[in-house]
C-alpha cells in the first residue's frame, strides 16, 4: 500500500538481567514479542498499555535508538536496519520524538532557542539567520514568544516545557512523530491544550503520529487506530471507535473498565 509511511514486522526485543543469588543466574524478559504494525500517512496510531507492557521499548526500537533482536522496520519503503550510520542519520530528521517528562527531557544548561535549534544544526539545515527565523516561528506556533528563546527550561511550567519539546521535534519538519506519553505528566486542564496543539500541527504539517499512552480517554480523542499491548504482545488492534465499543480481549475490557469515572462522567456531561 502506498499510504503506509512506517511499518514493522515481527519486532522482538529481549532484555536479559542478572537474577538469583548474587546475580549469578540470568533471566530473560521479552519486552517485545513479535510485534507488527503499520502507520498510515497523516494518521495517528495509538499504542496503549500499562507500565512494563513494552510500549516505550517499541518506540525506541522503531526509531532505531535500541537494537532489535529480530524484526524489520520500514520507513517510506526503506529498511532502517540495513542503513549505514550516515544514511540513518539522514533519515532521523524525519523521525522525531516527543518525550514524556518535560522536566527531564530538556537540557537545563541550554537556552530554549539553542535546544530547539540543535536539530537544525546537527542536520546542517540553513544558515544562522534562517535557523533563527525557523526556531522563532516554531516557538511562536506552539504558543511561546520571541523573548522565551533566551530563557532556560526551569523558567517554564510543565505545559510550556512540553510545548518546547514539541517545537524541538517539529522544527525539523519530520514526517513521523513518536509521542511517548506526551501529556501524562500534566494536569488535565493543560493536557487539553497540548492535545489540541498536537492535532492542529498534525493537520498543518501532514504529520503521522505514533501516540503512546496509558490513558484511554486521551487515546479516544487523538487516535484513528489503536493497538493494545500487554507484556510485550499486541493483544488487540483496530479502529478506535470499534475497539472501544466492542473490545474483544479480556485485557482491553479491563482497561476500559478502569477509566476513572466512566460510569458517571458519560451521563453527567452534556
Amino acid at each position: 500500500m502506498a499510504d503506509i509511511i512506517l511499518s514493522a514486522q515481527g519486532l522482538t526485543k529481549i532484555y536479559r538481567q542478572r537474577s538469583g543469588r548474587f546475580g549469578f543466574g540470568s533471566s530473560q524478559i521479552k519486552a517485545l514479542d513479535n510485534v507488527s504494525l503499520s502507520l498510515k500517512q497523516g494518521a495517528t496510531l495509538a499504542v496503549v498499555g500499562e507500565s512494563g507492557s513494552g510500549k516505550s521499548t517499541l518506540a525506541r526500537c522503531l526509531l532505531q535508538l535500541q537494537p532489535l533482536d529480530a524484526g524489520e522496520v520500514q520507513f517510506e519503503g526503506r529498511e532502517l536496519g540495513r542503513l549505514t550510520g550516515t544514511e540513518l542519520r539522514g533519515v532521523r530528521r524525519h523521525l522525531q520524538m516527543v518525550f514524556q517528562d518535560p522536566f527531564a527531557s530538556l537540557n537545563p544548561r541550554m537556552k530554549v532557542g539553542e535546544i530547539v535549534a540543535e536539530g537544525l544544526l546537527i542536520h546542517k539545515l540553513g544558515n544562522a539567520t534562517t535557523r533563527r527565523d525557523q526556531v522563532l516561528r516554531m516557538l511562536q506556533r506552539v504558543g511561546l514568544a520571541a523573548p522565551d528563546m533566551d530563557k532556560y527550561p526551569h523558567e517554564f511550567s510543565g505545559g510550556q516545557r512540553q510545548r518546547i519539546g514539541i517545537a524541538r521535534a517539529l522544527v525539523l519538519e519530520p514526517k513521523v512523530v513518536v509521542c511517548d506519553e506526551p501529556v501524562s505528566a500534566l494536569d488535565v486542564s493543560i493536557q487539553a491544550q497540548i492535545l489540541l496543539l498536537l492535532k492542529e500541527l498534525q493537520l498543518e504539517m501532514g504529520l503521522s503520529y505514533l501516540f503512546i499512552s496509558h490513558d484511554l480517554r486521551v487515546v479516544r480523542h487523538m487516535a484513528d487506530e489503536v493497538m493494545v499491548m500487554h507484556r510485550g504482545r499486541i493483544v488487540e488492534q483496530g479502529e478506535v471507535a470499534q475497539v472501544y465499543a466492542d473490545p474483544q480481549h479480556e485485557y482491553t475490557r479491563n482497561l476500559l473498565n478502569s477509566i476513572p469515572g466512566h460510569h458517571r462522567m458519560a451521563t453527567a456531561t452534556t
Binding site: 507500565s51 488535565v188 486542564s189 487539553a192 480523542h221 482497561l255 466512566h262 462522567m265 456531561t269
Partner: protein, 273 residues
C-alpha cells in the same frame, strides 16, 4: 453522621508577603463516613489546604487566618506535642509520590509498624500480627513485610502507604493525589480499596485530585478550588450534572471522555478573569 472536620476562613500566605494569599478564605465541612474531594489545577492551593489541616505547612508559609476544627477541637491552637498525638493516629495521610515517600533502607514491615509502636505501644509478636493483618487488608501477602521498597511495584508501594496511613485506624484520612503516578487499572484498584476501607472503618476522607474522572468515582462532596479560593462546593451529583460556576464547567470540559463524543476544550483563563 457527625461533623468530623470543619475549616473556616483558612488563609495561607508566605511569611514575607502577607498580602499574597495562596489560600484565601477556604471553608468547608467533612462528615465522618463521607469523602470530600478537593479539585483544582496545580497552584490552586488544594495541597496547601490539606497540609494546613495537619499543621504541616512548608517552611516560609503561615496560616494567616482561619480555624481548623477536628472533632470539635481547634487544631490550630494545639501544641506540636498534641498534634503529634493526632497525626498518624487519628488523622492518616497518603502522599502523592509512592516512590519518594518510603524510606529505602527500612523494610516495609518496620515502616508500617512504626506508628503502631509510637501511638499504641505495640511490640513483638503482637506488632508482627497487626502488620501482617494490615498488609493482607491492602492486598499484599504478609510475607512481603521483609521486603524493601525497591522490591515493590508502584502500585504495591502505594498500598504500603495506605497500610501505613490506616494502621492506627484513623477517623480522618487525607489523600493527596494518591493515584496520579499509577497505571489506570492499578488506580481503579486503589480507589476501590479506599472506598471499601472508608465504609469498613467509617472514616472521613479528604481526597485531593485534579481529575474529575476520579472525582466521579470516589466523591460524596466536591470542593472546587481556583487560584486559592473555593469557587464552588456541593454534593458530587450536583457538581457533575449542573455545575454553576464557569470554572467548574471549564474544568469538566477539559476532561476527555471515553466515548469521544464531546470536543476537547481547554480552559479559557482570559474569559474567567
Amino acid at each position: 453522621m457527625s461533623e468530623l472536620l470543619h475549616l473556616s476562613g483558612l488563609t495561607i500566605t508566605p511569611w514575607q508577603q502577607p498580602a499574597r494569599r495562596l489560600v484565601n478564605d477556604v471553608s468547608f465541612t467533612l462528615e465522618s463516613g463521607r469523602t470530600t474531594c478537593i479539585v483544582g489545577e496545580s497552584g490552586s492551593g488544594k495541597s496547601l489546604t490539606a497540609l494546613a489541616v495537619m499543621g504541616l505547612l512548608p517552611m516560609g508559609l503561615q496560616r494567616q487566618a482561619g480555624q481548623v476544627m477536628f472533632q470539635g477541637r481547634e487544631l490550630t491552637m494545639s501544641s506540636q506535642a498534641e498534634l503529634q498525638q493526632i497525626r498518624g493516629k487519628r488523622i492518616g495521610m497518603i502522599f502523592q509520590e509512592p516512590m519518594t515517600s518510603l524510606n529505602p533502607v527500612l523494610n516495609i514491615g518496620f515502616q508500617i509498624g512504626e506508628s503502631l509502636t509510637v501511638h499504641l505501644g505495640l511490640r513483638g509478636q503482637e506488632l508482627k500480627t497487626r502488620v501482617a493483618a494490615l498488609l493482607e487488608q491492602v492486598g499484599i501477602p504478609a510475607v512481603r513485610a521483609n521486603s524493601y521498597p525497591d522490591e515493590l511495584s508502584g502500585g504495591q508501594r502505594q498500598r504500603v502507604m495506605i497500610a501505613m496511613s490506616i494502621a492506627c485506624e484513623p477517623v480522618l484520612l487525607i489523600a493527596d493525589e494518591p493515584t496520579t503516578a499509577l497505571d489506570v487499572t492499578v488506580q481503579a484498584q486503589i480507589l476501590q480499596l479506599l472506598a471499601e476501607l472508608k465504609v469498613r472503618m467509617n472514616m472521613g476522607m479528604l481526597f485531593i485530585t485534579h481529575d474529575f474522572g476520579v472525582v466521579a468515582d470516589i466523591a460524596d462532596d466536591v470542593v472546587v478550588m481556583f487560584r486559592g479560593e473555593v469557587v464552588e462546593a456541593g454534593p458530587v451529583d450536583q457538581i457533575l450534572v449542573c455545575p454553576q460556576h464557569p470554572y467548574t464547567r471549564a474544568l469538566l470540559d477539559c476532561v476527555p471522555d471515553a466515548e469521544g463524543l464531546k470536543p476537547l476544550k481547554p480552559i479559557d483563563y482570559a474569559w474567567l478573569a
